[in-house]
Subunit: 228 residues, 2 copies
């Protein structure tokens, strides 16, 4: 088991591939070449090549033409990156004046450069938070993660009152708009009304009503409980 060795030797690219594949395979579903390519903004051909190498290295399980899954080792590496990314985001927001729409890009670069030592210091200073500024759960240093059940706001039925859990990072302009509506993790909202055929919905946030399109509704994820 050369895990400890590879631990140090994963390249930036490899780290990004593993993270992307993790994000694309909820509960062990296989991720396709083109999904990975799209997420990383690379050509499918490039992904094919890298996937081949990574599976030879034992980080991926690859069934040609069928998709890939992380091995235990690949998953560990992916969660390590996720922990870094999310702790860095939390730190930058808590101590260095970042807002949730600007923090992703910075963390994306820093996550490849920080040492394990630094990551654990950040965690300690933050008091070992469970979630990052977007509400995404932070894996523990042992590689455990609690993915809370959540559904997109776009699927919450009319009349339901729910709590915002997570808001998808990565699109600063949307995040800014969402923040301007008062929507952020922990906030409660009520779906007043919704139009059929993926039409817009009306929501109530802290007494204010807003109309939201389907696209934005998919970005906001809510706790899947239905009580008031």
């Amino acid at each position: 088991m050369n895990a400890a060795l590879q631990h140090e030797t994963l390249t930036r690219s490899v780290e990004d591939y593993l993270k992307a594949i993790y994000r694309l395979s909820p509960q062990g579903r296989a991720a396709s070449t083109s999904e990975i390519a799209q997420r990383l903004e690379l050509s499918p051909a490039s992904v094919s090549g890298m996937v081949k190498r990574l599976s030879e290295q034992g980080l991926l399980e690859h069934e040609p033409y069928r998709g890939v899954q992380l091995t235990a080792e690949g998953r560990r590496a992916a969660l390590r990156m996720l922990r870094r990314h999310r702790l860095i985001e939390a730190y930058l927001v808590a101590f260095l004046g970042y807002t949730w729409d600007t923090v992703h890009e910075e963390a994306e670069r820093l996550e490849h450069a920080v040492s394990d030592t630094l990551v654990e210091r950040l965690a300690a200073v933050l008091g070992n938070p469970a979630v990052d500024p977007h509400g995404d759960p932070i894996p523990t240093s042992e590689g455990d993660i609690a993915e809370p059940a959540s559904i997109p706001l776009s699927e919450v039925p009319a009349g339901a009152s729910v709590e915002v859990r997570q808001v998808e990072e990565g699109q600063p302009d949307r995040l800014r708009y969402i923040a301007s509506l008062g929507l952020r993790p922990g906030v409660r909202l009520t779906v007043v009304d919704r139009q059929p055929f993926h039409g817009p919905m009306t929501i109530d946030v802290a007494g204010q009503t807003h109309v939201i399109g389907n696209e934005l509704g998919q970005v906001v994820r809510c706790a899947s409980d239905k009580d008031a």
Copy 2:
């Protein structure tokens, strides 16, 4: 002038070369290929190749077989990296529990990953410090740097009393030992005695005397004033 463009596009390697060359050329002396190779732990052949490319890019002045100097643009880029490195060190020591012997390695990686925005936030939180934990001056964001006159402790005459200005970073074990003697920037010491032929010297630091070899004496730089 494509400076702004290149600004974003310098690779890690290029940044390291420029920084190394800056450190190797006090007041415009030329740096040799082998000096650069030694500092970056690369083969001279690799340095030759890179130097050629960098001078074609206008970052270096290269006289074949004679050595290299930074152009104004190269110097700007080098000072930008130095500012990053030193501010990161200062921040890690001030807020994240790093000591001066452990901070160099971390900063060496982070300096390539931080944005200008983050660097300026660090500077602001630190109150725009003038020096880093090793006493090295921090360039301003405009690229000005005040290199204070200093001489190695190994050249301070017997009987003189001087203030420690800087201690060379990069060798954690030495830094730890030096710290254990109470030597750090700002501390005053008196040279009690020194042996000829680069022999050891006896110094007094805050009432304690210590014997120091020549090698260590070169790592500690002192303000070049001679009063008590």
